[in-house]
């Protein structure tokens, strides 16, 4: 009998079936629903009242205020208030405000476990796939349906298998690997499909790096993305107080994949996505001394503790260019605390970084760090569409935190390997 991919295993369990097949439409029971202040309560409150139905299980709902958690005006403060009041009125105890970004906080809080099925009211909701969760992004009204029913319908996706081999060179990061995929495939290649990362090379990537591979699955068009679990996953789970599952999450037998590729980490060099699209990918080495006005380390993609530590490795004993605004918005308060404890934060500040709040901020064009007309930024975030980080004529290059840090030092887009300590 044919085998099953990880996503098929999880969807079969969630739909109470022996197996599910790609293309099949199934009703699934969700283990957890995550939403944030922008797409969550403020959009759902009215319709929920109209329907006059209770939330199916407040203990399975996580609400993270990250988009407007540093309100810039009264309208934004009202959005935030709405989220806060919603949590109170519906007895949602897993409410997190100013603690970090919605794709990072649930993992840090120990809410995520391998094999769970979750839905998230944000396009980058596949991020917990780094821990073996299957997480499906959706919009507000779909989320409303989940909130009242605890269920939703899904079409079982085909799976693309990505076999990770080798090991990244020093100064090269998982962000470069996912940009490499975008360069190969473009933004719609994986549309309606799931990504499954596995293989020997995964062992060289810590969980926070795997989160970059799953986070930017949406830029490839994917419905979700998941990593095989292993000893590294289990170490993370133990550190975050999550009970260990009885076995590793792996594909079973010989499953059908709609596509299989090998991603050799050893062959990947630092890459950037040129404006205005995440799939306009070039090697940093091919970008000719492009000057920048701003270097931004932030977002769910590129400001976790590991990202801050990599930036600090580049910045140790260096100062950023006086021509560059160097902004860091740590992805969570825990990431900031960890960086403060081991000296990482001090290196960043001494190099000339301005530390911003642990919110979405400029990543979504919402807060501090907005770019002006024709300004050029390099950013560890995940999207560079026109107007995403500010003025429609601003130009954003997407890169790894190491590349962003190296560029902050020189004032132009630079290869972190050239400044990496030997």
């Amino acid at each position: 009998m044919a085998g099953t991919t990880i996503v098929e295993q999880v969807l079969a369990r969630a739909s109470d079936k022996d197996r599910v097949n790609p293309g099949e439409i199934i009703d699934v029971t969700v283990d957890m629903a995550m939403m944030h202040d922008s797409g969550g309560p403020r959009r759902i409150l009215g319709p929920l009242a109209e329907l006059n139905m209770p939330i199916w299980d407040p203990n399975r709902v996580v609400l993270v205020a990250d988009h407007y958690a540093m309100p810039n005006d009264a309208d934004e403060a009202i959005i935030l208030q709405t989220a806060r009041n919603f949590a109170r009125d519906h007895a949602i105890t897993r409410y997190h405000e100013l603690e970090g970004i919605c794709h990072i906080v649930p993992a840090e809080e120990g809410y995520i476990y391998p094999g769970m099925l979750m839905v998230g009211g944000d396009s980058h909701s596949a991020t917990p796939g780094a821990l073996g969760a299957v997480a499906i992004p959706m919009g507000s009204t779909d989320m409303l349906g989940v909130l009242v029913a605890g269920k939703t319908w899904l079409k079982v996706p085909h799976t693309i298998r990505i076999d990770v081999e080798g090991q990244l060179e020093q100064g090269v990061m998982a962000k470069d690997a996912v940009l490499w995929l975008l360069g190969q495939w473009g933004m719609s290649h994986a549309t309606y499909r799931a990504l499954e990362y596995g293989g020997t090379g995964l062992a060289s990537l810590p969980v926070e790096e795997r989160m970059v591979l799953t986070n930017m699955a949406i830029e490839l068009g994917a419905k979700t993305a998941v990593c095989e679990t292993d000893a590294i996953t289990e170490q993370w789970l133990t550190n975050h107080g999550v009970p260990l599952p009885s076995s590793y999450l792996r594909p079973q037998g010989d499953p059908f994949y709609s596509e299989k590729i090998v991603m050799n980490l050893s062959a990947i060099e630092p890459l950037v996505a040129r404006p205005p699209r995440p799939d306009h990918v070039s090697p940093v080495s091919a970008i000719d001394r492009q000057p920048i006005n701003q270097a931004y380390i932030g977002a769910c993609t590129g400001a976790k503790y590991h990202d801050l530590a990599m930036a600090a490795t580049v910045l140790q004993g260096r100062k950023v260019s006086p021509r560059v605004r160097f902004l860091i918005a740590p992805a969570s308060r825990k990431a900031l605390q960890q960086a403060a404890q081991d000296g990482t934060l001090q290196v960043l500040i001494e190099a000339g970084a301005t530390i911003l709040s642990s919110t979405c901020g400029a990543c979504a064009g919402l807060g501090a760090g907005i770019l002006g007309p024709n300004e050029v930024g390099i950013s560890s975030t995940n999207r560079n569409f026109p107007g995403r980080m500010g003025h429609p004529t601003a130009q954003v290059f997407l890169a790894s935190p190491a590349t962003v840090a190296a560029s902050a030092v020189t004032g132009y887009i630079s290869d972190p390997r050239e400044v990496w300590p030997s």
Partner: protein, 171 residues
């Protein structure tokens, strides 16, 4: 709503939701955000829609952010339907949920229909007609369930209708 007739607006591939409703307008309600729809690539687009409009776009329409404001603002601005070879997955679900027809029809996208010409979409017989030439293209009809949601004006009014007719809400 069995059919709509409106002038065509053409867009290319990979139109993302950051340009449909830029982040700075997300704090607005959907109706207010409609005034700025498509501002990221075509400022002033909302002013062109006195007669409503039907968007014919390239592949992967609505990629990027999951913001439901994107299809909602298009609908409130006067867009009656979006036709593309295929849609980004989240946009497609959001569009149906807010009551904006999203129709997959590669042939129409490849056709020579020009911006400003009028087309008619017949949702019952599932075809798109170019009014000047009378040419018609069929598309794979939406399931009855999705058509009912669109007819009600979106998932929320649909569910309310179901509750009132006492069939119970099935999601």
């Amino acid at each position: 709503m069995n059919s709509v007739t409106a002038p065509v607006f053409r867009f290319g591939n990979d139109v993302d939701t950051d340009v449909i409703v830029p982040g700075q307008y997300l704090k607005l309600g959907y109706e207010e955000a409609a005034a700025y729809v498509m501002e990221g690539i075509r400022p002033g687009f909302g002013n062109l829609l006195q007669n409503g409009g039907i968007i014919i776009a390239g592949e992967n329409f609505g990629c990027g952010s999951s913001r439901e404001a994107a299809p909602a603002a298009l609908k409130f601005a006067g867009i009656r339907a979006v036709i593309a070879p295929y849609f980004a997955r989240i946009f497609y679900r959001n569009a149906i949920n807010v009551g904006l027809p999203a129709i997959e029809c590669p042939e129409v996208v490849e056709s020579p229909i020009q911006e400003g010409e009028w087309v008619t979409i017949d949702f019952v017989s599932a075809f798109i007609q170019h009014n000047r030439t009378g040419n018609r293209w069929s598309y794979t009809p939406l399931s009855l369930h999705l058509r009912e949601i669109l007819l009600a004006g979106g998932l929320v009014p649909f569910l309310k209708g179901q509750r009132q007719s006492d069939k119970g809400a099935r999601l």
